[in-house]
């Protein structure tokens, strides 16, 4: 079975600073990887996804993530954060040719002025 680990439950950062949110996964087979963002009392919105090909994927709101197969990681980055990026971020994995989507425990990004 696949699993997802987000090591940082909270990441505080000042506005305009860079940020990296870490995600590691485990699976014995090929997977698709996703990052979702959740604002308070809202559903989840897709930021970006890795399916295959280029290991660097770009998403919405200036976020990008890099797939590293050898380290089984899919870390999310943004070079300069805004106050509006304050939210909960979830990494998720879905095995290829299955329907099951599993989430990590989430990382709360808090951006301070």
């Amino acid at each position: 079975a696949q699993s997802v680990t987000q090591l940082d439950s909270q990441v505080p950062v000042f506005e305009e600073a860079p940020v990296e949110l870490r995600c590691n996964y485990s699976s014995s087979v090929s997977v698709y990887l996703f990052w979702y963002v959740q604002y308070p009392n809202q559903g989840l919105q897709l930021l970006l996804k890795y399916l295959s090909g280029s290991t660097l994927v770009k998403g919405i709101n200036g976020f990008e993530a890099e797939f590293n197969k050898s380290q089984t990681s899919f870390h999310l980055r943004k070079p300069s954060v805004h106050i509006s990026d304050t939210a909960e971020y979830f990494c998720a994995v879905r095995r290829v040719n299955t329907d099951k989507l599993i989430f990590g425990t989430g990382t709360r990004l808090q951006v301070f002025p």
């Binding site: 897709l46 329907d99 989507l101």
Partner: protein
């Protein structure tokens, strides 16, 4: 336009009184999911449908049931809500597993926050 719609956004129910949460979609996706999300936790998959094929997670309590009468609608029934069932319930849809990988992401509704009193 909203593509995955959950009603109501907020639901208050009494301890032990059956409650139904609803989800509808305009995406014509084969797969529909129900997740439970407690405060400051990850969404936890309760079950999902591939068309009418129901897939229950092993640790989903029997208290939780689901119905999918057609492609567009899916319901979550909680037969006897306990205080521990208070949570945000998220519905999501996606295309089938054998479809194009370009369409693998899940689309989420706004969620229904359930309070048990």
């Amino acid at each position: 336009d909203a593509m995955v719609i959950q009603n109501p956004r907020y639901q208050v129910t009494q301890f032990g009184k059956p409650v139904t949460l609803s989800c509808s979609q305009t995406l014509n996706h084969n797969v529909m999911y129900w997740y439970q999300q407690k405060s400051s936790q990850a969404p936890k998959l309760l079950f999902h449908y591939y068309d009418k094929d129901f897939n229950n997670e092993a640790d989903t309590p029997d208290n939780f049931q689901s119905r999918r009468p057609n492609t567009s609608f899916c319901f979550l029934d909680i037969r006897s809500p306990g205080l521990g069932d208070a949570a945000m319930y998220l519905c999501a849809t996606s295309r089938e597993r054998t479809g194009s990988p370009l369409n693998t992401e899940a689309f989420f509704g706004q969620g229904t926050r359930l309070t048990v009193v």
